[in-house]
């Protein structure tokens, strides 16, 4: 209904669609170029010498790459799991009877999203050192869990807010006890959002660079840190390949999360 009025509008602002197309081109050209040149056979990063997978082979066979990828996967999956669990509990907690100070809490949860990453990194580092948590995998996981929580929380809370509460009431009326209601009704309804939240948290953790740079010890190099080290040494086709791998993983996961979020059990 509301959209009816719009139809006559675009032509009034004629430059708009051209501007929008230009913006999408601008957004995607660098990434497409990067992907294209990761299949370059030559030794130069930006001079095309024919299609080849040799840089991928080289990267994947490197021990350093494997170690970094393994670290990244461990950190991302553990912290995404912890963050999603905590976020689910928090979202459930917010839903019941209103807690004292609840209005304050949602802004508080989104606060870490606004603070520059470098400040969070410094703060966490100093905190870890002062409390005596050693730099390494455990610290990384703890830090990643913290900054992943908002992403999972927002996704889960959004689903919870639009959830049909009458279904749970119906279950209660049909003499299901609270536990049974939760497992048979609430959780299945929430499940796609929880999964989407997990995936988002996973990517956010996988992609994190600045905080990891501050907190990773020598033995817990993650993929972005490894990649950054390569990038500082120079532009090589191998970096193109690593970048593309990370890019494809991120995009795949986002697509999955979006897809999961769309499914609503009816």
């Amino acid at each position: 209904m509301k959209s009816q009025g719009f139809q006559s509008l675009p032509w009034r602002f004629r430059g708009l669609s051209a501007a929008a197309v230009a913006l999408y081109v601008y957004l995607y050209i660098p990434l497409i170029v990067l992907i294209a040149f990761s299949f370059n056979g030559g030794r130069m990063a930006t001079i095309w010498e024919g299609f080849s997978l040799r840089w991928y082979a080289e990267v994947i066979q490197s021990d350093q790459f494997r170690a970094a990828a393994a670290n990244s996967l461990i950190v991302a999956s553990t912290s995404a799991f912890l963050a999603t669990t905590l976020a689910t509990l928090a979202a459930l907690g917010f839903r019941g009877r209103p807690l004292r100070g609840q209005g304050m809490m949602v802004p508080f949860l989104s606060f870490p999203l606004v603070v520059p990453e470098i400040v969070t990194a410094v703060a966490t580092l100093i905190f870890f050192i002062s409390v005596g948590i050693p730099l390494g995998m455990i610290g990384l996981i703890a830090a990643h869990t913290v900054f992943c929580i908002p992403f999972a929380f927002i996704t889960i809370k959004a689903r919870m807010d639009t959830m049909d509460i009458t279904l749970e009431q119906a279950a209660n009326d049909l003499f299901a006890n609270p536990r049974r209601t939760f497992f048979a009704v609430t959780l299945p309804l929430l499940w796609p959002a929880i999964f989407a939240g997990f995936i988002l948290a996973f990517i956010v953790s996988l992609d994190d660079f600045v905080i990891s740079l501050f907190l990773a010890g020598p033995s817990s190099t993650t993929l972005p840190i490894y990649m950054f080290g390569m990038m500082r040494l120079g532009v090589t086709p191998a970096v193109n390949a690593v970048s593309t791998i990370l890019l494809v993983v991120s995009v795949l996961f986002v697509l999955t999360a979006a897809w999961m979020n769309k499914i609503s059990p009816k």
């Binding site: 501007a19 930006t46 520059p116 470098i118 992609d207 990038m231 990370l246």
Partner: protein, 269 residues
Amino acid sequence: MLIMVFVSLVERAPDGGVVWGRFTTVAYTQFFYEENLLGEMSFNSDYMQIYLRSILLAGFTVLATFVVGFPTAMYVAMQEPGRRALLIFFLSLPFWVNLLVRNYAWLLLLRANGLLDQALMGLWITSEPLNILYSNTAIAIGLTYSFLPLMVLPIYAAMEKFDFSLVEAAFDLGANRVQVLMHVIIPGVKGGIIAGCLLVFIPGLGSYVTPVLLGGSKSLMIGNLIEAQFAAARNWPFGAALAFVLLLMVVLAALLRALLLRHRQRVAP
């Protein structure tokens, strides 16, 4: 609750009184930190320059993302709902790609005899390499690219709620396009614009990756300065102080936003 504890712990640490005692063990006394902070404020202009450069670059990024992003937000808001969702999804997709990767892609394009140079020289537009890389220009390009979705999405969100029949009405009343834009659309989505500016300005100010990859060693920003204090210079208290100043700037920006919004509410009740 647990999260609250986590968050407060993380945030309190940079200025927290708990940590001072340990710093003396790292061979930097609190005195040193005080002196450095004072020096940064009053005597040594190098750090001031870096802060100023960061503010200017972040400010420019806000401007650039707005100029590029605003028409697109408007365009998307005028589409049908189904198409809108798709467009927004593709707008935010690059944002999920690793920041390093996104900036590295620009490294490929911008470097001397890189792809941009090749393209421009191939088209006979320029005859020699532009040498954009490792300059403030390169940082500005990288920052604009990195944070563009953060500008478009809030403006779009505001536009989506905006009642476009007001625009029709304004046209019917004989307003021209510029008038409609300035007096109807922009005031209507002001909240979204302010949110977008803030969302771009803050990470722009604190960015680390872009200046390192695209700015080289000549164009430092606050983020690099802080990192250098922790990694190379081993001057943690100074680094913490720098980070705290950055945090204060962010809080100031957020307060400014609150002020602007309140002002708006008073003007248009």
